[in-house]
């Protein structure tokens, strides 16, 4: 069995308004940061998982992302995978 560290990034789809991102953008500008064109907030999920090779682990992670980590009606996801 190989063990992998997976980082899953879940983001609101570009078409979905992100009011928390807008509020944080507004606070960033109040802090004095200049040049911020856009700010959107997502989630990062870290998973340690084992399986027989990268392909099998990718299948498991795809299922988790599709069915649980992201709601694909409003969110997109991507992930990176590192063999431990």
């Amino acid at each position: 069995m190989d063990q992998f560290a997976v980082k899953v990034f879940v983001r609101l789809r570009p078409s979905v308004l992100d009011p928390a991102g807008e509020a944080t953008k507004s606070a960033s500008i109040k802090l004095g940061a200049k040049g911020i064109k856009s700010l959107r907030i997502g989630k990062m999920i870290e998973v340690k998982i084992e399986g027989n090779g990268e392909n099998e682990v990718r299948e498991k992670i795809d299922l988790l992302c599709d069915r649980l980590f992201a709601n694909t009606v409003i969110e997109d996801y991507e992930y990176s995978l590192e063999k431990l």
């Binding site: 609101l12 078409s15 009011p19 009606v73």
Partner: protein
């Protein structure tokens, strides 16, 4: 109707379960039974209410974890058999997360938790959930949510409109919902999800009775 029993689902974090039960039993004389979320035996209830609250602490997304409970797994067959399911607030979020209703509910546009009475237009009474026969087709119900902004893509919205699945629209959109949507049904009409709380509008002494009709319609066949 004597034996008709409405199952009120209790998740860890539900907080409107007792209100629903009070409204059904105390105001409408309809028998209720609490159903713990780990139960999958729905054989002795005739209709189901998924009440408001914060199931599983709203972790990950509202309704996302509740979707995997044994009870929600058993709900598919219940819905297919034509029995009625009403999802209120967090219950509506669970119904969209689990795919019984299209779209999703996301953070209110102004990021506030909104607790208010809102005017609603009855757009469709598919499934008989609302009284749109009278001249007056506007009702007033309380809302109490932080994540009640209904979102769907344009194709889904077109399907909702074309199939008359939009039950309620806000007169003055409080949360930024697409097309002012406050409640929708499935195609068959036996599943209704809505953000407003009909169970909190069942007695004049607490501000109105516009919620009675919807709760009473749980007993429709």
């Amino acid at each position: 109707m004597d034996n008709f029993t409405v199952g009120v689902v209790v998740f860890p974090g539900s907080n409107c379960d007792r209100d629903v039960s009070w409204a059904l039993e105390g105001c409408l004389d309809i028998r209720t039974k609490y159903l713990w979320h780990e139960s999958s035996d729905l054989s002795d209830v005739d209709a189901i209410v998924l009440p408001g609250g914060f199931s599983y602490g709203d972790y990950l997304r509202c309704g996302a974890i509740a979707r995997f409970s044994p009870l929600i797994n058993a709900l598919d067959e219940f819905v297919k058999s034509g029995k009625r399911v009403l999802g209120i607030c967090n219950g509506f979020q669970i119904l969209t997360e689990s795919g019984f209703l299209p779209g999703a509910l996301v953070a209110n546009k102004n990021l506030n938790f909104i607790c208010d009475d809102v005017e609603l237009d009855i757009v469709s009474s598919k499934g008989g959930w609302f009284n749109n026969v009278d001249e007056r087709q506007t009702i007033k119900l309380p809302i109490a949510h932080g994540e009640g902004r209904y979102h769907c893509d344009s194709d889904t919205l077109k399907k909702l409109v074309d199939n008359e699945l939009i039950a309620l629209r806000y007169k003055n959109n409080p949360n930024g919902s697409s097309f002012d949507i406050a409640g929708i049904t499935n195609k068959k009409g036996n599943v209704l999800g809505l953000m407003p709380h009909p169970e909190r509008a069942c007695d004049e002494t607490i501000g109105g009775t516009d919620g009675l009709f919807t709760l009473k319609s749980l007993i429709l066949k």
